[in-house]
Assembly symmetry: none
Homo-oligomer: 152 residues x 2
DNA sequence: CCTTCTTTGACCATGTCTGACCTTTATTTA
DNA sequence: TAAATAAAGGTCAGACATGGTCAAAGAAGG
């Protein structure tokens, strides 16, 4: 049985399919009106079904002329973004930055959740072994591992 | 879906692009007339979209023959401003501040429109995951991402 | 039952636009 | 040329128009 959230999700995805550029702009209030529900229900659907992990970008604006725009990131686009992200790995990165990269690569479906854990463990283990230049080592490792996965 | 302010902003930016020296001089009253709105609407657009942080200089004069001149600053100047802007990212920033920073970096050509969207999504996603210290996390993420882009 | 997902509503934050009133500068007039 | 007047532009508060958040109640599934 479909829930309201499912219906709204389906509706939005249909709109995206029918669009030219895999993007829809909608009014939260109007959508809520269309489905006879409270506006915040729309937020619920967005936060549970149109996340970055699932390949969607959401942007919105309040006030007069406000809107919610949902864009589906295409496979090619994701690859491009992943490529860009990869280029952004500097010569040296902190543990925290490495963590951010891992999360982003995961979001872009470059690596799985298990791979994230494995890579994290590898980074920790390897950097613990050397006394200097851990950040550089971490960057090299991350780069090496990611490129292996990307071009497998 | 565009608001009046958006239309006026677009119009002015177009004028600047079509100019020789990245500068336009306009009459507040005439512009207001052109867009059928009150003159103060022009001020609204100027103060929200053509700020120094975003790379524009405004000068004006009242009285007979008065004018408003908008100038887009040079590339070198923009780089300097971007540097300054970066330094202004505090230890903790709100979502709204992050949004302003993104708009500013975008106007200063540090990041592309697509990068803005991606970064916004990443910030939202990451901050949604942790319950505390969101502002601090947001600041770190923004700093990290921007600096990687700036010095890539 | 217990947990997780869904739905709602009260309250919040932010963006836009207008109009009344103010200030500055140029031009005209006495 | 000082005063008056006209011709710009500036400020600000308030009305509106949206979207966002969060906690709690309700529903569905194990």
């Amino acid at each position: 049985m479909s829930t309201l959230a499912d219906l709204i999700e389906r509706y939005i995805k249909q709109q995206i399919r029918h669009s030219e550029d895999q993007t829809v702009a909608l009014s939260r209030a109007q959508l809520a009106e269309l489905f006879s529900c409270v506006p915040s229900q729309i937020n619920y659907v967005l936060t549970t079904r149109f996340t970055l992990e699932r390949g969607y970008l959401i942007e919105s604006r309040r006030g007069g002329g406000g809107y919610i725009r949902i864009a589906q990131i295409s496979k090619a686009e994701r690859d491009r973004l992943a490529e860009e992200l990869f280029m952004e790995i500097g010569a040296e990165i902190s543990e925290r930055e490495a963590e951010q990269f891992l999360a982003s690569f995961h979001d872009l479906d470059v690596i799985t959740g298990k791979q994230v854990k494995l890579i994290r463990a590898i980074l920790q283990r390897e950097t613990a072994m050397t006394a200097q230049n851990r950040d550089a080592l971490r960057a090299s490792l991350l780069r090496g591992i990611i490129i292996m996965i990307m071009y497998k």
